[in-house]
Each structure stands twice: as structure tokens, then as C-alpha cells.
Amino acid sequence: MRPPRLIATALLALIWLGGALAVLQVVLSAGVPTEGAASLMAHASGMAAGYGAAIMLILMSRSPWLERDVGAHRLARWHGWGGRLVIILTVVHTLLAVQAWAEARSTDRMTAIKDVLSLPGLTAALVGAVMLLLVGLASLRRLRRRISYERWHFLHLLTYLAVALAFAHQLAGSDLAGRKSVQIAWSLLYTYAFALVLRWRVLQPLFQLWRHRLRVEEVRQESPNVMSVLMSGRHLDELRAQPGQFFRWRFLTRTTWHAAYPFSLSAPPTCERLRITVKARGDGTRRIFRIPVGTLVFAEGPYGGLTQRRRRRPRVLMIAGGVGISPMRAMFEVIDLPGKDVTLVYRASSEQDLVLKHELDEIAERSGARVVYLVGPSTDAANEMSARALNRIVGDLSDHDVYLCASPRLAGRVRDSLMLGGFPRHQLHEERFSF
């Protein structure tokens, strides 16, 4: 297997190269107006925004190649800053285009706005730009905390409509008009992006629903606010899911069908059963707790590269915080190492929060692996999760592959400490689920 980092770097370089070419062809284009800097900047930002929007669709298409070889968390990170950049470029393009129009026609901005909006495709493009801006605002950290995951997810779906609304304007824009080969290439970029989305985000889950008939078999309480959902279906081996991976689950009841939640498998998948373990974080996840047995499940996936395929070193340290134990529990059972040199460090704020403990103890006893529970307040020195403390627990940390899944705060602390301590980045494998 090629290292994901190398593939990711190559892909990122390709994306930037495409962006540079899109902007460069504006500068070299004979049709570029030379009235002022505003005009040139409007054209360049518009092309860059249009190109970026298509790239964002491709990155979020859930294409298995991207998910496996680049990694879900890396794609989400790229999408996070790439999406912001596209929205900023769209706003800059809109403002500068009006400014350039007003300058070219020696008119005021209000008249320029009226003139511009009377052009074919421009009203639809403006509606698209406003929708993108709304999505961007909803994703701002401060606002995002106040919006439920379900609303945020629904708002995000509007971006497809926004991108489609702006397409006619892009194709007829003066940077592309009259240049058939570039117009065809641009159209293909968009139709392929939408085809990827349709193939992997719509058809694949529908196909999986039809083929596997996944249904809720049992909902089991693990702790006051953590539940395990056991699902059964047919031919589940065809999914080729691996312990450590996750799906986006949509439970088809009247109150839960509209939202897809990313949850890791908390047990190795079998031909007939899948299990997830879920913590109640909001109204949406709480509703999952009340799902009736027999509910059909629409599952997108499997996604994520937090699997034992990533392992390179002879020893493994797994670090789990709270419900982050889910993927670790699944991997802990199957990870196969000579000498079984596997240590699982499980951090929880109280004994009650240690979910699946009996299963972990049983696996450890059977396989000879080790589980270390760190329970209690984080201020307690015994619960320290620094590189030094972890080194004390396992000995020779640098000889380990470290798998990490915890809350963003705990994962951040552990990651920073490991990096500061000189731990090699490529030996740290993690999945982040914050949205």
C-alpha cells in the first residue's frame, strides 16, 4: 500500500496546479478587460471560485479511492479550509464585478447591480452565492456551536443547489465564452463532479439498502448516555468493512431519516451483523436511542483509514477517550501482532463512563494484550496523557504505531504532546469526527 500522506500530497499539488491554470488562463485570455485592477481581480476570483467549488464537490463525493487513500479526516480538513476559500472568493468576485461594472460604465453601484442582475444567469448565480454565504456563516465556529448537527447538515446540502445555480453564469462568463475546448473541459469538470456525488453519495447507499436490507436488531444500553445499536443484514461481507472504519448512518424512521450520523463500528463486522456504539450528544443522537427494532438503516460507507492496514511498527498503542473507544474496541479484537504487543489506554472521567469494559477485559485476557484504564479528573497526575506519560506506560513509544480516537480536546492535547515530543507524524493514526 502506498503511504496516504504521499498520495495526499500529490493530489493536493494537482489541485493547486489546476487552480493556478484556471487563474492563469484568465490573465492570458484575450478577452480580459484591461480597464482596471478590479476587473482583472473579479475575473480571477470568479474562475478560482468556480474551480474550487467543483473540487469541493469531488473531495466530498465519498469516492472510495479518496476515502481510503487520502483519509476521511484529511478530506474533511481540506474541505474545511477549501470551502471557506471558495466562499471568500465568491464574495470577492461578486463585489469586484459590481465595482468593475460601475467603473466601466461610469455609473453608481446600485445601477451597476441592477444592470448586472438583468444579464442572463446572473440572478441564479447571485442566489447561489447567497446560499453559499449562508452555509459559510453557519459553519463559523461560534455559530456552529448553536446549530444542531441535523440543521447544519441540511444547510450543507444546499451547497449542491448553490453550485448548480452558478454553473450557467460560469459557462457563459467572458473568460470561457467563445473558447469551445475550455468550455467543454469546464462542463466535464462539473458533470464528472456531480456524477461522482451521485454514484457514491446517492446510488451506493441506495444499492446497499436494497442488497443488504440492514435493520436494527437490538438497542442495548451501555451506560446512562451510551447505547449500542446492533444491526443485521445480508451479504454484509461484500461491504468489505474493516474494524476501525465508520459509516454514515441514516435510520429510516419519521423523526430520524433526514440526518446521517458518522459512527464507527464498535465490533468487528460479520457476514450478518454490524454494531455501533453511540453517545447522546444532542436531540438527534438521543432519538437514535428510541429507534424501534426492525427499523431499516441507510448506511453510507465504509469510510476511514483507521485500520490495521496503516500499521508499520512492531508494537501498537491505542488511545481512546470516552466513546472514542468504539473503533478501538473493534480493532482491539482483531489486531494481529507477533507477540501481541498491543496496549489500549482508555481514558474516561468516571467508572460509569467506561463502556464496553467487560468486552475489553475479555479480549485482553484471551489475546494477551493489555488494557490500561485512566479514570477520574484530568487534573490527577495519574491520568496524564502526555507523550512522557504514555512512554512510561508502554516503554519506547517511538517503536509504536499510535491509534487515537477521542474528543477533539483530548485528541488535540495528545497529538500536540506527541508532536512536541518528536513522535513521528506518520506513526500517528487518527479519525476526527468534529463537524
Binding site: G31, P33, E35, W101, A104, R105, S106, D115, L119, P120, G121, L122, L171, A172, G173, S174, L176, A177, G178, K180, Q183, I184, A185, W186, S187, L188, L189, Y190, T191, Y192, F194, A195, L198, R199, L203, F207, W210, R211, R213, R234, H235, E238
Partner: protein, 70 residues
């Protein structure tokens, strides 16, 4: 085949019965779906590109103004 099995077989829609097909058939079906989808995307993309405007609406309005300014 017993009467009950016959009844179930008759009442299950054909598309649902297909879901039980062997894996290799399903894999081929998915490949065909993927190829068809991207072929359609190619046709639509090329048609959109060919049918796209030769002259941009913005340049149509801008040019006479720019010329008259000079």
C-alpha cells in the same frame, strides 16, 4: 416448491428478488452502472460545452461602452 414458498416468491417484487443474486453478478451490475453514469456525464458535459454561448452577455454590453468611451 411448497405452496407457501411459491406464494412468497410470487409476491416478492422481481427487483427485490434480484437483491439475492450472487456477488459476482452484483459486482458486474455496479460496474455497468458506474460506466453508464460516467458515459452519460461525458455526453452531458460535452453537449453543455458545445452548446455554451460563443459571446458572453457581459462582454456584449461592455464592449460598446468601452468603445464609445474611447
Amino acid at each position: 416448491m411448497s405452496d407457501t414458498a411459491f406464494e412468497v416468491g410470487r409476491r416478492t417484487p422481481r427487483i427485490a428478488r434480484l437483491a439475492g443474486a450472487p456477488s459476482y453478478l452484483i459486482r458486474w451490475m455496479l460496474r455497468i452502472v458506474t460506466v453508464s453514469l460516467f458515459s452519460a456525464a461525458t455526453v452531458v458535459g460535452v453537449s453543455l460545452g458545445i452548446g455554451a454561448p460563443e459571446i458572453s452577455p457581459t462582454s456584449m454590453v461592455q464592449q460598446p461602452v468601452a468603445l464609445s468611451d474611447r
